[in-house]
Symmetry: C2
Subunit: 325 residues, 2 copies
């Protein structure tokens, strides 16, 4: 059963905050965003989220407070946030937002929003739900959704259902060990995790250690991909490095979970064949069983809207993508 009213969608990341209205069919009707300021404390950051919600509701001609019947005009509020978190309680401690440690995001949003359902999940899980509901995974029953960006996250749909796991943390493909013996040390403390190799900042740092000298001081993996596309050998090598690690981790997930499709979103997924070529090569080298060879790897079909549409799916298609309380 799907809703007949739009949902409010909130996407909270380490770089930007986004809020949107998503129609019952999954179309992004309107949205706005603001940078995630690093100088704010927990309450200051919450006020920024609160103000952005008000701004989006105002622009849509909807009452901005719960008391004015907001809950009756909308199907609910879905929110994606960087992990880890206590799920389904929605106490969030995003690695890339140090101001929030055990922040009661779901409770705050529920107070702000009123009676309609308010649901919070990992942002990569939301992307996965969005891509399965309306994007590249539509119609499949076994899918891995990935975000390759400042971090590397993921979510799993198996046998048609979004997998939660023991604590709502299933899908952490960023912490699959791809080079367990001699890989770089990950932020989590382990050696050789996918994220330690393929997250944007790690890739940019690696490239600089190999002699890459970007034009600006805050150069990112996006600049690196652009330099690779222009023929810079270290840019090319960096995309090969990330693509190979991604291919190994995707082969792992495919062999273990018998996947049909892998949809990759996030900034780095826009690097095209420079990234996807080496990815396919490593993936095919490590998926030799007949069933595993069937897997397809594609860029996220909803592009930059996947996070908001996926967050909305937690309430608009909650029977498929929400099993919490």
């Amino acid at each position: 059963m799907e809703a007949d009213r739009p949902a409010l969608a909130v996407d909270i990341g380490g770089t930007k905050l986004a809020v949107g209205l998503v129609g019952p069919g999954g179309r992004l009707l309107s949205w706005d965003q603001t940078p995630t300021r690093r100088d704010l404390d927990a309450e200051g950051l919450w006020r920024t989220v609160d103000a952005l919600i008000t701004r989006v509701l105002d622009a849509a001609g909807l009452p901005a407070s719960a008391g004015a019947g907001l809950g009756r005009r909308l199907a609910g509020l879905g929110c994606g946030c960087g992990g880890p978190m206590e799920w389904p309680a929605g106490l969030v401690s995003p690695i890339n937002i140090p101001a929030w440690r055990g922040f009661p995001l779901r409770e705050r949003l529920a107070e702000r929003f009123g009676a309609a359902p308010v649901r919070v999940h990992n942002d990569a899980i939301c992307l996965t739900a969005g891509e399965h509901w309306r994007g590249a995974g539509r119609g499949t029953r076994n899918m891995l959704g990935m975000v390759v960006s400042t971090g590397v996250g993921g979510g799993l749909i198996l046998d048609g259902d979004l997998v939660q796991g023991a604590s709502g943390n299933a899908g952490h493909i960023g912490h699959v060990p791809v080079y367990p013996d001699d890989g770089p040390v990950c932020g989590c403390g382990a050696v050789g995790c996918l994220e330690a190799v393929a997250r944007g900042p790690a890739l940019a740092a690696w490239a600089q250690s190999q002699g890459w000298r970007p034009g600006q001081t805050d150069a990112t993996a996006k600049d690196l991909a652009a330099d690779g596309a222009a023929g810079h050998p270290v840019g090319l090598a960096a995309m090969r490095r990330a693509g190979t690690a991604l291919g190994i981790a995707i082969a792992t997930a495919t062999n273990l979970c018998d996947l049909e499709v892998v949809a990759i979103g996030g900034g780095l997924s826009q690097a095209g064949s420079l990234l996807f070529g080496p990815l396919e090569q490593a993936l095919r080298a490590h998926t030799r069983l007949a069933f595993a060879r069937q897997v397809r790897v594609v860029p996220a079909g909803l592009g930059q809207s996947a996070g908001l549409i996926g967050a909305a799916a937690l309430v608009l298609a909650g029977d498929r993508y929400w099993t919490g309380d």
Copy 2:
């Protein structure tokens, strides 16, 4: 809903064939076994299975043919068989039984057995179902079952359900790449799969390459484990080698699937702390996130009966462990 009659259970492996009667509550009532002869053709091997079924039914005082009302006396027949297979059709091509390639095992068993349900699945999936139903995974909702023996297989229970995947092949942890750069070549053709390192014959061959000189020519990983327990340095190193690879692969599955428990069956799982010590060390090194640290690794609770009890679970607890036709 669970059955009120016993089930016939069949377990077909590369080394032995086993048939048993399993009570509705999951207790192995009687059983018998015979070696899997390598000199037989497809039909010859089938006749061996058929005769073993007759022998077990006779011993239990049950009519040996479907026409005599066998289907009314039993809840059905569950069968585990080495993979790969076409599932749920039950066309089997076990890697370790070359005589059967695309052999219609489920159809043959159904002809033999009559009207009651006849269900065939991968033997490691059956072990997983058995361990979840009545063994070490009882009461958990997120579990990996593993068989470490001539091959390395597995099955996944996530969010309380047995995972099938796109083609019924979910759980192939033996083909998780643990040393993707420089590991040994696997039977599947890929480099560095867990199975290529930790399967018994590979381990025994590796030990011989390191100077292990066992007493007999057909020495197995079991002999190797015994030599390790007696202090032989290559035996110890071999258990460390297998345990480390298992720990890395289990960390992978834990981070990806947010597992509660991993139950390990098969011959090598009896090697005790020589194997489980290095396994725990590698696992803990690669599960640093708070949720992943919760995982427990234990030997299969049903011991050598896990395969037959799990095969029976396909029919005795089919609402939980069978989603095929």
